[in-house]
Amino acid sequence: MVWVGQVYFYVCAAIAVLAALATVASRNPIRGAMGLLLMIVAVAGLFLGLDAQFLAAVQLIVYAGAVVVLFLFVIMMLGPSAVPPRDRRGVVGRTIGGLLFASTVLAGLVLLAGRLRFVPSRDLDTGFGSVSAFGHALFSDALVPFELSSALLLVAILGALAVARGRQGEAAPVLPSGQPGLAAPSATPAPLSGASTTGQGGSRA
């Protein structure tokens, strides 16, 4: 049953590539987030094929469980504004830049392809990539970076809070059309604009 591994790899690889294409090409960011989710699941499957069981689990928990949900949360918070109107300005320069990047990477791949020998990796002792083996490596060799990464996450939480919250007491900017802006989650509610200000404000006060 040698071909099972091959079929598994090619199915996961096809899903990953198609989902990545859907992520970068979809006009609606919600569809992009769904493509990202699919690609993450496919890459987790590829991790399983590479004997990285713990990383596959971490991939599913952190990416699919946290990162994609965060993306979806922000997209839904922005609402229809997450899809800006179509605008063709500067599309030529961007396309040229993208093509340059892609051709560089693919030229590197072609140069590399002559040297690939496709030797099968040797068989492993049991336990490679398992939670116990990975945890042993993480808490012996990589203990200091592990602790530093916890500090990084703490700083990221504080930074995200400080950036997303805005200044205290700052009123939300008001659109020319009279729509109240995206209100900062501050202690005081953002004042409503327009004729309804007095009534609403009075009732709230």
């Binding site: 990545a20 590479l50 993208g98 995200a160």
Partner: protein, 101 residues
């Protein structure tokens, strides 16, 4: 027989797709998602290299730290997107020109 080289090729293709998306797309959210695609490709390459040389877990540990750094990057990046949206009412990258002039 699937070898590590297959995974390296796939990782290169994914990296190219993500890079093109990051350069071409103008929606900040889609650009951030393309960044995720690129980092996933790098993780795949690291794990594949680790499988090709399985004397220790260095590649997997490195991929683990990339995942941690990326979670932080997404949190701060989306906070910046929200902040930009509050100021400019837009999620386009070329509207982020507050430092111009």
């Amino acid at each position: 027989m699937i070898t590590s080289d297959h995974y390296i090729i796939l990782s290169t293709v994914l990296f190219a797709i993500g890079g093109v998306g990051f350069l071409v797309r103008r929606n900040v959210l889609v650009a951030l998602m393309s960044l995720e695609v690129m980092l996933n490709a790098v993780n795949l390459a690291l794990v594949a290299f680790n499988r090709a040389r399985p004397v220790d877990h260095a590649g997997q540990v490195f991929a683990f730290f990339i995942i941690a750094a990326e979670a932080a990057e997404v949190a701060v990046g989306l906070a910046i997107v929200l902040s930009l949206f509050r100021i400019k009412r837009s999620v386009r990258t070329d509207d982020a020109d507050l430092l111009k002039n």
